[in-house]
Assembly symmetry: C2
Homo-oligomer: 483 residues x 2
Amino acid sequence: MSKKAKTAITPTREENFPDWYQEVIKAADMAENSPVRGCMIIKPYGYALWENMQSVFDGMIKALGVQNAYFPLLIPLSFISREAEHVEGFAKECAVVTHHRLEAGKDGGLVPAAPLEEPLVIRPTSETIIGDAMSRWVQSYRDLPMKLNQWCNVMRWEMRPRMFLRTSEFLWQEGHNAFETEEGAREDTHKMLDAYADFAENYLALPVIKGEKTDDERFPGADMTLTIEAMMQDGKALQAGTSHYLGQNFSKSCGIKFQGREGGEEFAYTTSWGISTRLVGAMIMAHGDDDGMIMPPKVAPHHVVIIPILKDDQDSAAVLDYAEKLAARLKEQGIRAHLDASDERTPNKMWGAIKKGVPLRVEIGGREVEEGTLTHVRRDIGRDSKASCSVDEFVNGAQGILDQIQADMFARAQKSLESRIHDVSNVGDVESFYKDGGVGFVKGSADILSDAAFEKVAKEHSLTARCLPFEDKGNKVIIGKSY
Amino acid sequence: MSKKAKTAITPTREENFPDWYQEVIKAADMAENSPVRGCMIIKPYGYALWENMQSVFDGMIKALGVQNAYFPLLIPLSFISREAEHVEGFAKECAVVTHHRLEAGKDGGLVPAAPLEEPLVIRPTSETIIGDAMSRWVQSYRDLPMKLNQWCNVMRWEMRPRMFLRTSEFLWQEGHNAFETEEGAREDTHKMLDAYADFAENYLALPVIKGEKTDDERFPGADMTLTIEAMMQDGKALQAGTSHYLGQNFSKSCGIKFQGREGGEEFAYTTSWGISTRLVGAMIMAHGDDDGMIMPPKVAPHHVVIIPILKDDQDSAAVLDYAEKLAARLKEQGIRAHLDASDERTPNKMWGAIKKGVPLRVEIGGREVEEGTLTHVRRDIGRDSKASCSVDEFVNGAQGILDQIQADMFARAQKSLESRIHDVSNVGDVESFYKDGGVGFVKGSADILSDAAFEKVAKEHSLTARCLPFEDKGNKVIIGKSY
């Protein structure tokens, strides 16, 4: 393989992973910081990715019997205070609405006016307001299970924001299910986690470890939090989705009770589960390289970018016509083809497509038109995958190449994850692994967490227990640095 | 036609239209008021309607080259103040965020803490924050036109809320386009209005009058506001969508400038355009009857409801199996079939489907199973349309019946609209029409608006100029009561 003199992204991942991350977002034109501290603007290319993610996952949850609905953005203070642990967990990050009007102040500028009787917080999550609705909607065991979801914006004030990973406002889906029995609710908590793992692995090409959070890391108000943990290329963990078993905590504080099969009044068992725009950050850090983003085909805004190479006026029309026909044929096959007919210079178009991570790039020049062929390159492999073939062959084979890219991306990430989980026997092993510059997770007996020495080591190396993996039946723990 | 002893909705439209409206929403289980004053909860059935509306319109605007994106919920005071008319128009309805934390107060309850340096308002609309982004994104005439849209929640504090029609928080799409020339922007303002009219008429079965708003009714900060005006069954107008030509007002206040073709710096011409969940209210008031909602098939959550009539245990399984197979065959045809297999009593299922306005109802009992037939009824016509046919015939014909329902609903609404626009020659005519209890709109010379006597008449009868219809080239005005 020839060595590249220069990469499209500066710094490289090795030089400075956090800065590389920000630069990839910029180079791929996915998002930018807004003038409102902590809030981001999701630009069209980043939003198109989110729309595809939404569309896939929305289909998955509807197939599981979940119904979408919409609940108010603003939550009364008295609601959020109902569940003690819950309010404790969120109070420090709540944006508070105190007035419902602006008026001219003394210096002529605008000032808040018309104070609210009770302040309202912008939802950091909606357990309490949805729980309140469920207390009206659930009357009998016949109304259960009730499975509700909303796609919406939430706000958790963030002092150290990072685009997609930690923003004061973010987009997500929050599911809220209610059940007749503890068993039903616990089973569902696992079922929704399985849906997240399926989504992450089979659509985002993001291998994950499924497990339970330790007591310290549980959702405020939950009895059990399940998580999928992914590993970024710098070896840090990213919590990619969580599913919470809430027991009767919220049903009791919100009054979700129903007439049971025996006629008596019972409290429901509830769950909640969410994934967010954070997953976009996870994909960038798991798949991107020193030339920019690499989009997993199943959710990529464009599957194929077609770049016409226009050299003089004479063959431009023919090349464009050829490219347009190709785009149309690909679209007929359900392939998201994007013809870059802008008047950018060809190298800029090529580098643009590379930085944006379009899975397949097609180049068409005068020679290709004459021969009835095209040249194609895989984004994940680069120039070594460059090949020519006839248009027919490409149209028939493109989906196969995209599927192969998807599979290869997952396999690479999976290999990377597996090779960077290191077995440890005790706290001393944990300490020496990270002290020696070890990259990745360590895995050892769950007893490590109760060793008196662990807290100090964890603090020194910014480690947290990521989860107790299901595959080890709760006997082991995965520890790592994290986002 | 036999006379119904009782209607499903009390009061009827004639008895009390506003109360009938609220009762239909409740009976169709579409939404309810939330504990947060002025905010509503959109329940699954109402939200499914909104999702279908979104899906159709989103496809329309993408075909017009619009890209979706997402901008911050919160807008700095300094931004919203940039355009003088704009802030004047919205200041009285702005929810203001003043703190970003809660802490325990003296009495142990939570109080707002950590005041913001600059208060933030929850977006009532996003011209200023999107204009700010465009000022960075638009550099050259090559970047234009730029067409952006977001689907989001907005907030305009409402003192007299009514579900869907006027709620403090509502869902909408807001489009924001920028152009090189005035001509391009003006043309696009019309193009987006045409898209709204197409959507309203051909999908929501809602006939509209296209026209321009008078100066008094323009969007704060716009040079021209175009509108589609619909008529509700009580003869009142409902503004169903607006498209604004903003001239250079926002490009100057937000700094959207670009290098023009001649090399000089120029300000862009911008537009904005929006439709909201208000349209759900419009459909209820245009199509509903005294038995509840009637859904236009093209956006109906369910096209067909299948009601199995179960009489004894023996044939239940056979009936259910037959119904399931029918549902599966209909779904294969792209028809949204809903099998009501709940254990509600049959009459409750039937009335439930009627109140929800499912366009087609199918009933299947033991006899139908034996004969290989089914019974079907159109919601918009009722028992007079009751008919039996073979399953095959129905599966093949269902889409045709749905199309006929869609066409009939539009034709009925169109006839109702046309028959209730009354020509007037002067202010005296306007006054006597409404004084005599006239229902509907009046239409006359636009000069009526400048008649000194008009203001008093308008005030007395709560009239506003709805628009200057395009079909009269701005020479005439439509006047009416409105929502």
